[in-house]
Protein backbone atom coordinates (compact mmCIF):
# COMPACT_ATOMS: atom_id res chain seq x y z
CA UNK A 1 0.00 0.00 0.00
CA UNK A 2 1.49 3.33 -1.01
CA UNK A 3 2.10 5.92 1.68
CA UNK A 4 3.11 8.66 -0.73
CA UNK A 5 1.08 11.90 -0.49
CA UNK A 6 -0.87 10.61 2.52
CA UNK A 7 -1.89 13.04 5.25
CA UNK A 8 -1.16 12.57 8.96
CA UNK A 9 -4.72 11.46 9.62
CA UNK A 10 -4.62 8.95 6.77
CA UNK A 11 -1.34 7.46 7.98
CA UNK A 12 -2.55 7.35 11.60
CA UNK A 13 -5.63 5.50 10.40
CA UNK A 14 -3.51 3.00 8.43
CA UNK A 15 -1.38 2.37 11.52
CA UNK A 16 -4.38 1.97 13.81
CA UNK A 17 -6.14 -0.47 11.50
CA UNK A 18 -2.84 -2.32 11.06
CA UNK A 19 -2.85 -1.91 7.30
CA UNK A 20 0.79 -1.11 7.81
CA UNK A 21 3.19 -1.56 10.71
CA UNK A 22 5.25 1.27 12.16
CA UNK A 23 8.38 -0.32 10.81
CA UNK A 24 6.92 -0.75 7.32
CA UNK A 25 5.84 2.90 7.31
CA UNK A 26 9.30 4.14 8.21
CA UNK A 27 11.01 1.70 5.83
CA UNK A 28 8.70 2.89 3.05
CA UNK A 29 9.50 6.52 3.94
CA UNK A 30 13.20 5.79 3.44
CA UNK A 31 12.39 4.11 0.11
CA UNK A 32 10.69 7.33 -0.95
CA UNK A 33 13.67 9.36 0.25
CA UNK A 34 15.97 7.14 -1.84
CA UNK A 35 13.73 7.46 -4.89
CA UNK A 36 13.83 11.25 -4.58
CA UNK A 37 17.51 11.85 -3.86
CA UNK A 38 17.66 14.18 -6.88
CA UNK A 39 15.56 16.68 -4.92
CA UNK A 40 18.45 17.10 -2.44
CA UNK A 41 15.80 17.76 0.21
CA UNK A 42 17.77 16.15 3.06
CA UNK A 43 21.21 16.95 4.43
CA UNK A 44 21.40 14.18 7.05
CA UNK A 45 19.27 11.05 7.41
CA UNK A 46 18.35 9.38 10.68
CA UNK A 47 17.62 5.90 9.40
CA UNK A 48 18.86 3.52 12.11
CA UNK A 49 17.35 5.43 15.02
CA UNK A 50 14.07 5.87 13.11
CA UNK A 51 13.70 2.16 12.37
CA UNK A 52 14.55 1.36 15.98
CA UNK A 53 11.88 3.74 17.25
CA UNK A 54 9.36 2.23 14.81
CA UNK A 55 10.16 -1.26 16.05
CA UNK A 56 9.60 -0.08 19.62
CA UNK A 57 6.25 1.38 18.61
CA UNK A 58 5.26 -1.92 17.00
CA UNK A 59 6.15 -3.75 20.22
CA UNK A 60 4.51 -1.36 22.64
CA UNK A 61 1.13 0.02 21.67
CA UNK A 62 1.29 3.79 21.99
CA UNK A 63 -1.54 6.23 22.49
CA UNK A 64 0.54 9.26 21.60
CA UNK A 65 -1.34 11.62 19.28
CA UNK A 66 1.23 11.47 16.46
CA UNK A 67 2.45 7.97 17.13
CA UNK A 68 4.63 6.63 14.32
CA UNK A 69 4.19 9.64 12.03
CA UNK A 70 7.36 10.29 10.01
CA UNK A 71 8.49 13.91 10.11
CA UNK A 72 11.34 15.78 8.41
CA UNK A 73 13.07 18.29 10.67
CA UNK A 74 14.58 21.48 9.32
CA UNK A 75 18.33 21.34 9.86
CA UNK A 76 18.11 24.49 11.95
CA UNK A 77 16.81 22.64 15.02
CA UNK A 78 19.36 21.01 17.28
CA UNK A 79 18.82 17.26 17.38
CA UNK A 80 20.59 15.26 20.06
CA UNK A 81 23.46 13.19 18.64
CA UNK A 82 22.31 13.90 15.06
CA UNK A 83 24.36 16.29 12.92
CA UNK A 84 22.85 19.78 12.68
CA UNK A 85 24.39 22.01 10.01
CA UNK A 86 21.96 24.91 9.57
CA UNK A 87 22.83 24.68 5.87
CA UNK A 88 26.34 25.97 6.61
CA UNK A 89 29.88 24.78 6.25
CA UNK A 90 30.45 26.38 9.68
CA UNK A 91 28.46 23.59 11.35
CA UNK A 92 29.33 20.78 8.95
CA UNK A 93 30.69 18.74 11.89
CA UNK A 94 28.31 19.87 14.64
CA UNK A 95 26.64 17.09 16.66
CA UNK A 96 24.41 18.75 19.28
CA UNK A 97 24.41 17.22 22.76
CA UNK A 98 20.72 18.13 23.19
CA UNK A 99 17.51 18.53 21.19
CA UNK A 100 15.47 21.69 20.67
CA UNK A 101 12.33 21.86 22.81
CA UNK A 102 10.10 21.71 19.74
CA UNK A 103 11.90 18.56 18.52
CA UNK A 104 11.43 16.98 21.96
CA UNK A 105 7.76 17.95 21.93
CA UNK A 106 7.19 16.34 18.53
CA UNK A 107 9.15 13.21 19.37
CA UNK A 108 7.39 12.86 22.73
CA UNK A 109 4.12 13.01 20.78
CA UNK A 110 5.25 9.96 18.83
CA UNK A 111 6.75 11.53 15.70
CA UNK A 112 9.71 9.78 14.09
CA UNK A 113 12.35 12.28 12.92
CA UNK A 114 13.54 10.63 9.71
CA UNK A 115 16.08 13.26 8.72
CA UNK A 116 17.26 16.85 8.63
CA UNK A 117 16.16 18.97 5.70
CA UNK A 118 18.20 21.22 3.48
CA UNK A 119 17.79 24.97 3.86
CA UNK A 120 19.31 28.31 2.97
CA UNK A 121 22.45 28.87 5.02
CA UNK A 122 21.42 30.02 8.52
CA UNK A 123 17.91 30.52 7.03
CA UNK A 124 19.11 33.50 4.98
CA UNK A 125 17.58 33.17 1.56
CA UNK A 126 14.32 32.70 -0.32
CA UNK A 127 15.29 30.06 -2.87
CA UNK A 128 17.47 27.53 -1.05
CA UNK A 129 20.33 28.62 -3.31
CA UNK A 130 22.51 29.77 -0.41
CA UNK A 131 22.80 26.30 1.17
CA UNK A 132 26.36 24.97 1.47
CA UNK A 133 24.88 21.55 0.61
CA UNK A 134 23.55 22.54 -2.80
CA UNK A 135 20.20 23.66 -4.17
CA UNK A 136 16.97 21.83 -3.45
CA UNK A 137 14.85 20.92 -6.46
CA UNK A 138 11.19 21.86 -6.39
CA UNK A 139 9.27 18.61 -7.12
CA UNK A 140 7.03 20.59 -9.50
CA UNK A 141 9.69 21.04 -12.15
CA UNK A 142 13.31 20.82 -13.19
CA UNK A 143 15.62 23.62 -12.08
CA UNK A 144 12.77 25.26 -10.20
CA UNK A 145 13.59 26.58 -6.73
CA UNK A 146 11.48 25.31 -3.83
CA UNK A 147 11.64 28.71 -2.11
CA UNK A 148 13.39 29.23 1.16
CA UNK A 149 14.63 29.11 3.62
CA UNK A 150 12.67 25.96 4.62
CA UNK A 151 13.06 24.63 1.05
CA UNK A 152 14.01 21.05 1.90
CA UNK A 153 11.07 20.69 4.30
CA UNK A 154 8.66 22.07 1.68
CA UNK A 155 10.05 19.83 -1.09
CA UNK A 156 9.90 16.70 1.11
CA UNK A 157 6.23 17.30 1.90
CA UNK A 158 5.35 18.34 -1.66
CA UNK A 159 6.94 15.18 -3.07
CA UNK A 160 4.81 13.14 -0.67
CA UNK A 161 7.83 11.65 1.10
CA UNK A 162 6.65 12.73 4.54
CA UNK A 163 3.26 14.07 5.63
CA UNK A 164 4.86 16.63 7.92
CA UNK A 165 7.92 18.77 8.35
CA UNK A 166 9.12 21.43 10.72
CA UNK A 167 10.12 24.83 9.45
CA UNK A 168 11.12 28.22 10.77
CA UNK A 169 9.96 31.60 9.57
CA UNK A 170 11.88 34.84 10.14
CA UNK A 171 10.56 36.78 7.14
CA UNK A 172 8.52 34.17 5.26
CA UNK A 173 10.69 31.05 5.39
CA UNK A 174 7.72 28.73 6.04
CA UNK A 175 5.04 30.48 3.98
CA UNK A 176 7.02 31.34 0.84
CA UNK A 177 8.33 27.77 0.21
CA UNK A 178 4.87 26.41 1.14
CA UNK A 179 3.44 28.63 -1.59
CA UNK A 180 6.06 27.66 -4.17
CA UNK A 181 5.73 23.92 -3.45
CA UNK A 182 1.92 23.78 -3.14
CA UNK A 183 1.66 22.80 0.53
CA UNK A 184 0.24 24.33 3.71
CA UNK A 185 2.47 26.08 6.23
CA UNK A 186 1.87 28.13 9.36
CA UNK A 187 3.99 30.66 11.20
CA UNK A 188 2.45 30.93 14.68
CA UNK A 189 2.32 33.99 16.91
CA UNK A 190 5.80 35.00 18.05
CA UNK A 191 6.44 33.12 21.29
CA UNK A 192 3.95 30.28 20.76
CA UNK A 193 6.72 27.75 20.10
CA UNK A 194 9.88 27.69 22.15
CA UNK A 195 13.01 28.91 20.37
CA UNK A 196 15.28 26.91 22.67
CA UNK A 197 17.56 24.77 20.54
CA UNK A 198 16.69 26.63 17.36
CA UNK A 199 19.85 28.11 15.88
CA UNK A 200 19.16 31.83 16.12
CA UNK A 201 19.07 34.12 13.09
CA UNK A 202 17.00 37.15 14.19
CA UNK A 203 15.69 36.49 17.68
CA UNK A 204 12.82 39.00 17.67
CA UNK A 205 11.46 37.57 14.39
CA UNK A 206 12.30 33.82 14.39
CA UNK A 207 9.40 31.44 14.94
CA UNK A 208 9.08 27.72 14.26
CA UNK A 209 6.00 26.23 12.69
CA UNK A 210 4.44 23.24 10.93
CA UNK A 211 4.51 22.43 7.20
CA UNK A 212 2.11 19.77 5.91
CA UNK A 213 -0.31 18.84 3.14
CA UNK A 214 -3.36 20.43 4.79
CA UNK A 215 -4.33 23.10 7.31
CA UNK A 216 -5.85 20.34 9.44
CA UNK A 217 -2.48 18.56 9.63
CA UNK A 218 -0.82 21.87 10.52
CA UNK A 219 -3.29 22.13 13.43
CA UNK A 220 -2.45 18.57 14.58
CA UNK A 221 1.26 19.39 14.53
CA UNK A 222 0.84 22.78 16.18
CA UNK A 223 -0.99 21.12 19.08
CA UNK A 224 2.23 19.26 19.87
CA UNK A 225 4.78 21.93 18.94
CA UNK A 226 3.55 24.65 21.30
CA UNK A 227 4.62 24.77 24.91
CA UNK A 228 5.54 27.27 27.56
CA UNK A 229 9.26 26.76 27.98
CA UNK A 230 11.23 28.21 30.88
CA UNK A 231 14.38 27.84 28.79
CA UNK A 232 13.15 30.54 26.37
CA UNK A 233 12.34 33.84 28.04
CA UNK A 234 10.22 34.92 25.07
CA UNK A 235 8.13 31.75 25.22
CA UNK A 236 4.49 32.72 25.84
CA UNK A 237 2.78 31.70 29.05
CA UNK A 238 -0.66 31.62 27.46
CA UNK A 239 -3.31 28.93 27.28
CA UNK A 240 -2.63 26.59 24.39
CA UNK A 241 -5.98 25.73 22.81
CA UNK A 242 -6.77 22.57 20.85
CA UNK A 243 -6.04 23.95 17.39
CA UNK A 244 -8.14 21.24 15.73
CA UNK A 245 -11.26 22.28 17.62
CA UNK A 246 -14.06 23.75 15.52
CA UNK A 247 -12.04 23.54 12.29
CA UNK A 248 -15.18 22.39 10.48
CA UNK A 249 -17.33 25.18 11.87
CA UNK A 250 -18.61 27.34 9.01
CA UNK A 251 -17.02 30.75 8.56
CA UNK A 252 -20.16 32.64 7.65
CA UNK A 253 -19.71 36.27 8.63
CA UNK A 254 -15.89 36.06 8.83
CA UNK A 255 -14.52 39.52 8.11
CA UNK A 256 -11.57 39.36 5.74
CA UNK A 257 -9.40 42.44 5.29
CA UNK A 258 -7.88 43.35 1.93
CA UNK A 259 -4.90 45.67 2.16
CA UNK A 260 -5.40 48.83 0.14
CA UNK A 261 -1.65 49.41 -0.12
CA UNK A 262 -0.85 46.00 -1.68
CA UNK A 263 -0.73 46.96 -5.36
CA UNK A 264 -1.71 43.73 -7.09
CA UNK A 265 -1.58 45.36 -10.53
CA UNK A 266 2.22 44.92 -10.31
CA UNK A 267 1.76 41.14 -10.26
CA UNK A 268 1.42 38.66 -13.07
CA UNK A 269 -2.17 38.60 -14.42
CA UNK A 270 -2.52 34.89 -13.73
CA UNK A 271 -1.52 35.40 -10.09
CA UNK A 272 -4.19 38.08 -9.72
CA UNK A 273 -6.75 35.80 -11.37
CA UNK A 274 -6.01 33.02 -8.88
CA UNK A 275 -6.35 35.51 -6.02
CA UNK A 276 -9.69 36.83 -7.32
CA UNK A 277 -11.02 33.28 -7.60
CA UNK A 278 -10.09 32.62 -3.98
CA UNK A 279 -11.97 35.75 -2.97
CA UNK A 280 -15.05 34.41 -4.76
CA UNK A 281 -14.60 31.09 -2.97
CA UNK A 282 -14.54 32.82 0.40
CA UNK A 283 -17.62 34.82 -0.56
CA UNK A 284 -19.39 31.55 -1.34
CA UNK A 285 -18.39 30.36 2.13
CA UNK A 286 -20.10 33.42 3.59
CA UNK A 287 -17.12 35.63 4.35
CA UNK A 288 -17.27 39.37 3.78
CA UNK A 289 -14.48 41.58 2.51
CA UNK A 290 -13.48 44.88 4.02
CA UNK A 291 -10.81 47.16 2.64
CA UNK A 292 -8.26 48.10 5.26
CA UNK A 293 -5.30 50.44 5.23
CA UNK A 294 -1.82 49.61 6.51
CA UNK A 295 -0.19 52.95 5.69
CA UNK A 296 3.39 51.96 6.58
CA UNK A 297 3.35 48.50 5.05
CA UNK A 298 5.52 49.55 2.09
CA UNK A 299 8.37 50.08 4.56
CA UNK A 300 8.28 46.48 5.81
CA UNK A 301 11.06 45.11 3.61
CA UNK A 302 13.52 47.97 4.33
CA UNK A 303 12.68 47.73 8.05
CA UNK A 304 13.33 44.00 7.96
CA UNK A 305 16.68 44.47 6.20
CA UNK A 306 17.88 46.60 9.08
CA UNK A 307 16.40 44.66 12.00
CA UNK A 308 17.18 41.12 10.78
CA UNK A 309 20.83 41.73 9.80
CA UNK A 310 21.43 43.65 13.05
CA UNK A 311 20.20 40.72 15.12
CA UNK A 312 22.00 38.26 12.85
CA UNK A 313 25.36 39.99 13.18
CA UNK A 314 25.02 39.73 16.93
CA UNK A 315 23.72 36.14 17.01
CA UNK A 316 26.30 34.82 14.56
CA UNK A 317 29.20 36.24 16.55
CA UNK A 318 29.09 32.98 18.54
CA UNK A 319 30.60 31.11 15.60
CA UNK A 320 34.25 31.68 16.35
CA UNK A 321 35.84 28.26 16.01
CA UNK A 322 36.43 27.87 19.74
CA UNK A 323 33.62 25.90 21.37
CA UNK A 324 31.88 24.02 18.56
CA UNK A 325 31.60 23.74 14.79
CA UNK A 326 34.36 24.33 12.31
CA UNK A 327 37.82 25.66 13.07
CA UNK A 328 40.33 26.77 10.45
CA UNK A 329 43.64 24.93 10.09
CA UNK A 330 46.81 26.23 11.77
CA UNK A 331 45.84 29.73 12.92
CA UNK A 332 48.91 31.72 13.91
CA UNK A 333 47.11 33.59 16.69
CA UNK A 334 43.66 33.95 18.26
CA UNK A 335 42.56 36.74 15.93
CA UNK A 336 43.47 34.76 12.85
CA UNK A 337 41.56 31.82 14.31
CA UNK A 338 38.41 33.96 14.47
CA UNK A 339 38.82 35.63 11.08
CA UNK A 340 39.88 32.58 9.08
CA UNK A 341 37.26 30.32 10.65
CA UNK A 342 34.44 32.78 9.95
CA UNK A 343 35.64 33.67 6.45
CA UNK A 344 35.89 30.00 5.47
CA UNK A 345 32.79 28.88 7.35
CA UNK A 346 30.21 31.42 6.12
CA UNK A 347 28.89 31.82 2.58
CA UNK A 348 28.43 35.13 0.75
CA UNK A 349 24.81 35.87 1.73
CA UNK A 350 25.54 35.28 5.41
CA UNK A 351 28.60 37.53 5.18
CA UNK A 352 26.56 40.26 3.48
CA UNK A 353 23.99 40.21 6.26
CA UNK A 354 26.58 40.19 9.05
CA UNK A 355 28.26 43.19 7.41
CA UNK A 356 24.99 45.12 7.04
CA UNK A 357 24.22 44.30 10.65
CA UNK A 358 27.59 45.51 11.89
CA UNK A 359 27.18 48.67 9.80
CA UNK A 360 23.70 49.62 11.05
CA UNK A 361 24.72 48.93 14.65
CA UNK A 362 28.00 50.84 14.51
CA UNK A 363 28.48 54.09 16.38
CA UNK A 364 27.26 57.00 14.31
CA UNK A 365 24.75 54.95 12.30
CA UNK A 366 22.80 53.28 15.10
CA UNK A 367 20.13 56.00 15.40
CA UNK A 368 19.78 56.56 11.66
CA UNK A 369 19.26 52.89 10.88
CA UNK A 370 18.62 50.56 13.79
CA UNK A 371 16.62 52.89 16.02
CA UNK A 372 14.76 54.29 13.02
CA UNK A 373 13.84 50.78 11.81
CA UNK A 374 12.57 49.86 15.27
CA UNK A 375 10.40 52.98 15.27
CA UNK A 376 8.97 52.11 11.85
CA UNK A 377 8.44 48.58 13.14
CA UNK A 378 6.14 50.03 15.81
CA UNK A 379 4.25 52.04 13.18
CA UNK A 380 3.69 48.84 11.21
CA UNK A 381 2.51 47.00 14.32
CA UNK A 382 0.16 49.89 15.18
CA UNK A 383 -1.28 49.70 11.66
CA UNK A 384 -2.12 46.02 12.23
CA UNK A 385 -3.63 46.78 15.67
CA UNK A 386 -5.99 49.27 14.02
CA UNK A 387 -6.84 46.89 11.16
CA UNK A 388 -7.74 44.03 13.51
CA UNK A 389 -10.35 46.24 15.15
CA UNK A 390 -12.27 45.91 11.88
CA UNK A 391 -11.44 42.46 10.50
CA UNK A 392 -10.80 38.87 11.66
CA UNK A 393 -8.07 37.98 9.18
CA UNK A 394 -6.11 39.73 6.45
CA UNK A 395 -5.75 38.08 3.06
CA UNK A 396 -3.16 38.49 0.29
CA UNK A 397 -1.18 36.37 -2.12
CA UNK A 398 1.73 34.70 -0.27
CA UNK A 399 4.21 35.40 -3.04
CA UNK A 400 4.52 37.64 -6.07
CA UNK A 401 4.50 34.62 -8.36
CA UNK A 402 4.99 30.88 -8.64
CA UNK A 403 8.34 29.06 -8.33
CA UNK A 404 11.13 30.65 -10.38
CA UNK A 405 14.17 29.08 -12.00
CA UNK A 406 17.50 28.65 -10.26
CA UNK A 407 19.76 31.63 -10.84
CA UNK A 408 16.96 33.71 -12.35
CA UNK A 409 17.06 36.46 -9.71
CA UNK A 410 20.55 37.30 -10.90
CA UNK A 411 23.22 38.96 -8.87
CA UNK A 412 21.13 41.61 -7.15
CA UNK A 413 20.29 40.57 -3.58
CA UNK A 414 17.43 43.10 -3.37
CA UNK A 415 15.46 41.25 -6.06
CA UNK A 416 15.56 38.19 -3.83
CA UNK A 417 14.67 40.24 -0.74
CA UNK A 418 11.48 41.49 -2.44
CA UNK A 419 10.36 37.87 -2.73
CA UNK A 420 9.18 38.23 0.89
CA UNK A 421 7.17 41.41 0.31
CA UNK A 422 3.87 39.94 1.53
CA UNK A 423 5.26 37.73 4.28
CA UNK A 424 7.64 40.01 6.20
CA UNK A 425 4.98 42.27 7.84
CA UNK A 426 3.59 39.41 9.99
CA UNK A 427 7.07 38.72 11.40
CA UNK A 428 7.67 42.37 12.24
CA UNK A 429 4.36 42.53 14.13
CA UNK A 430 4.73 39.02 15.64
CA UNK A 431 1.40 37.90 14.16
CA UNK A 432 0.38 34.38 13.10
CA UNK A 433 0.10 33.81 9.35
CA UNK A 434 -0.31 30.83 7.06
CA UNK A 435 -0.11 29.92 3.40
CA UNK A 436 -2.36 27.40 1.64
CA UNK A 437 -2.34 26.36 -2.02
CA UNK A 438 -5.03 28.27 -3.92
CA UNK A 439 -4.34 27.77 -7.62
CA UNK A 440 -1.89 27.06 -10.39
CA UNK A 441 0.09 29.39 -12.63
CA UNK A 442 1.82 27.83 -15.66
CA UNK A 443 1.43 24.38 -14.12
CA UNK A 444 3.02 25.48 -10.87
CA UNK A 445 1.26 25.89 -7.52
CA UNK A 446 0.83 29.18 -5.75
CA UNK A 447 -0.35 30.10 -2.27
CA UNK A 448 -2.80 32.31 -0.46
CA UNK A 449 -1.74 34.06 2.73
CA UNK A 450 -3.97 34.70 5.73
CA UNK A 451 -2.65 36.84 8.59
CA UNK A 452 -4.40 36.69 11.98
CA UNK A 453 -4.43 38.73 15.13
CA UNK A 454 -2.16 37.90 18.07
CA UNK A 455 -2.81 34.31 19.34
CA UNK A 456 -5.63 33.74 16.84
CA UNK A 457 -4.16 30.73 15.00
CA UNK A 458 -7.53 28.99 15.46
CA UNK A 459 -9.33 31.53 13.33
CA UNK A 460 -6.69 31.24 10.61
CA UNK A 461 -6.74 27.46 10.60
CA UNK A 462 -10.54 27.38 10.50
CA UNK A 463 -10.61 29.78 7.55
CA UNK A 464 -7.97 27.68 5.78
CA UNK A 465 -9.64 24.36 6.56
CA UNK A 466 -13.01 25.61 5.28
CA UNK A 467 -11.30 26.65 2.05
CA UNK A 468 -9.72 23.21 1.74
CA UNK A 469 -13.05 21.48 2.41
CA UNK A 470 -14.50 23.27 -0.60
CA UNK A 471 -11.51 23.25 -3.00
CA UNK A 472 -8.90 20.66 -3.97
CA UNK A 473 -5.79 22.72 -4.72
CA UNK A 474 -4.15 21.12 -1.67
CA UNK A 475 -4.74 17.67 -3.17
CA UNK A 476 -2.71 18.35 -6.29
CA UNK A 477 0.57 16.52 -6.44
CA UNK A 478 3.48 17.06 -8.80
CA UNK A 479 3.58 13.53 -10.22
CA UNK A 480 -0.14 13.08 -10.71
CA UNK A 481 -0.42 16.48 -12.34
CA UNK A 482 2.57 16.11 -14.59
CA UNK A 483 1.38 12.71 -15.80
CA UNK A 484 -2.18 13.83 -16.47
Amino acid sequence: MSIQYKTINELSQMLKSRDISNKELIQETFNLIDANLHLNAFITLNKDASLLKAEELDKNLSLQPLSGIPIAQKDLFCTKDLRTTCGSNMLSNFIPPYSATVIENLENAGCVSVGKTNMDEFAMGSSNETSFYGNVQNPWGDKLVPGGSSGGSAAAVAAGIVPAASGTDTGGSIRQPASLCGISGLKPTYGRISRWGMIAFASSLDQAGPMARTAEDCALLLNQMCSHDLKDTTSLDETIPDFTENLDKPIKGLKIGLVKEFDLSQLDKEVVKVFEESKKQYETLGAEFIEISLPNISLSVPTYYVVAPAECSSNLSRFDGVKFGKRCDDPKDLEELYIKTRSEGFGDEVKRRILIGSYVLSAGFYDAYYKKAQQVRRLIKNDFDDAFKKVDVIMSPTTRGAAFEEGSKGDDPIQMYLEDLFTIPANLAGLPALSIPNGMVDGKPIGLQLIGNFLEENKLLRAAHNFQLSTDWHKKTPKRDIQS
Binding site: F94, I95, P97, Y190, G191, S204, L230, T233, T234, L236, D237, N296, L299, V301, P302, Y305, V306, S313, S317, G321, V322, K323, F324, G325, K326, R327, P331, K332, D333, L334, E336, L337, Y338, I339, R342, S343, F346, D348, K351, R352, L355, G357, S358, Y359, V360, Y369, K371, K372, A373, Q374, Q375, V376, R377, R378, L379, P413, I414, L428, A429, G430
Partner: protein, 93 residues
Amino acid sequence: MDKKTVSTIAYLSRLSLDEENGEKITKDLENIIKFVNQLEDANTQNIEPLASPLEKTAKTREDKVTAQNRKDIFLERSPKSNDDYFLVPRVVE
Protein backbone atom coordinates in the same frame (compact mmCIF):
# COMPACT_ATOMS: atom_id res chain seq x y z
CA MET B 1 29.84 53.11 1.56
CA ASP B 2 33.42 52.97 0.37
CA LYS B 3 36.11 50.34 0.46
CA LYS B 4 37.56 51.72 3.67
CA THR B 5 34.21 51.57 5.49
CA VAL B 6 33.66 48.04 4.25
CA SER B 7 37.07 46.91 5.43
CA THR B 8 36.40 48.48 8.86
CA ILE B 9 33.07 46.74 9.32
CA ALA B 10 34.55 43.53 7.94
CA TYR B 11 37.21 43.73 10.65
CA LEU B 12 34.58 44.48 13.32
CA SER B 13 32.74 41.37 12.09
CA ARG B 14 35.97 39.34 12.08
CA LEU B 15 35.59 38.56 8.38
CA SER B 16 38.18 38.94 5.64
CA LEU B 17 37.11 39.71 2.11
CA ASP B 18 39.36 38.92 -0.81
CA GLU B 19 39.89 41.50 -3.57
CA GLU B 20 37.23 40.21 -5.99
CA ASN B 21 34.70 39.38 -3.31
CA GLY B 22 35.36 42.71 -1.64
CA GLU B 23 34.30 44.72 -4.67
CA LYS B 24 31.10 42.77 -5.23
CA ILE B 25 30.15 42.95 -1.56
CA THR B 26 30.90 46.69 -1.41
CA LYS B 27 28.55 47.24 -4.33
CA ASP B 28 25.86 45.02 -2.80
CA LEU B 29 26.09 46.77 0.55
CA GLU B 30 25.85 50.14 -1.14
CA ASN B 31 22.64 49.06 -2.89
CA ILE B 32 21.16 47.55 0.25
CA ILE B 33 21.89 50.67 2.29
CA LYS B 34 20.36 52.79 -0.49
CA PHE B 35 17.31 50.53 -0.38
CA VAL B 36 16.86 50.79 3.39
CA ASN B 37 17.30 54.56 3.22
CA GLN B 38 13.60 54.66 2.28
CA LEU B 39 13.04 54.56 6.02
CA GLU B 40 14.03 58.24 6.16
CA ASP B 41 10.62 59.08 4.67
CA ALA B 42 8.71 57.78 7.67
CA ASN B 43 7.66 60.26 10.30
CA THR B 44 8.80 58.65 13.52
CA GLN B 45 8.75 61.66 15.81
CA ASN B 46 7.90 60.61 19.38
CA ILE B 47 7.57 56.96 18.33
CA GLU B 48 8.97 54.55 20.85
CA PRO B 49 11.23 51.93 19.16
CA LEU B 50 9.80 48.39 19.09
CA ALA B 51 12.52 45.82 19.81
CA SER B 52 10.30 42.75 20.17
CA PRO B 53 6.66 42.08 19.33
CA LEU B 54 6.00 40.85 22.88
CA GLU B 55 7.17 43.90 24.81
CA LYS B 56 7.11 41.93 28.01
CA THR B 57 9.85 41.95 30.56
CA ALA B 58 11.52 38.62 30.88
CA LYS B 59 9.99 36.60 33.69
CA THR B 60 11.98 35.91 36.80
CA ARG B 61 12.25 32.46 38.29
CA GLU B 62 13.40 30.99 41.53
CA ASP B 63 17.17 31.17 41.88
CA LYS B 64 17.78 27.46 41.69
CA VAL B 65 20.39 25.53 39.75
CA THR B 66 18.64 23.59 37.00
CA ALA B 67 21.50 23.00 34.57
CA GLN B 68 23.51 19.82 34.77
CA ASN B 69 27.24 19.90 34.53
CA ARG B 70 27.93 18.41 31.11
CA LYS B 71 31.45 19.68 30.73
CA ASP B 72 32.80 16.44 29.31
CA ILE B 73 30.43 16.18 26.39
CA PHE B 74 30.85 19.85 25.44
CA LEU B 75 34.62 19.65 25.57
CA GLU B 76 34.65 16.37 23.68
CA ARG B 77 32.66 17.90 20.82
CA SER B 78 34.72 21.09 20.58
CA PRO B 79 37.36 21.63 17.89
CA LYS B 80 40.24 21.45 20.38
CA SER B 81 40.29 20.86 24.12
CA ASN B 82 42.10 19.18 26.97
CA ASP B 83 40.46 17.71 30.07
CA ASP B 84 39.33 21.03 31.45
CA TYR B 85 39.49 23.75 28.80
CA PHE B 86 38.78 24.75 25.22
CA LEU B 87 42.16 25.32 23.60
CA VAL B 88 43.11 28.30 21.43
CA PRO B 89 46.48 29.61 20.20
CA ARG B 90 48.60 31.19 22.92
CA VAL B 91 47.38 34.70 23.77
CA VAL B 92 50.09 35.87 26.20
CA GLU B 93 53.68 35.32 25.10
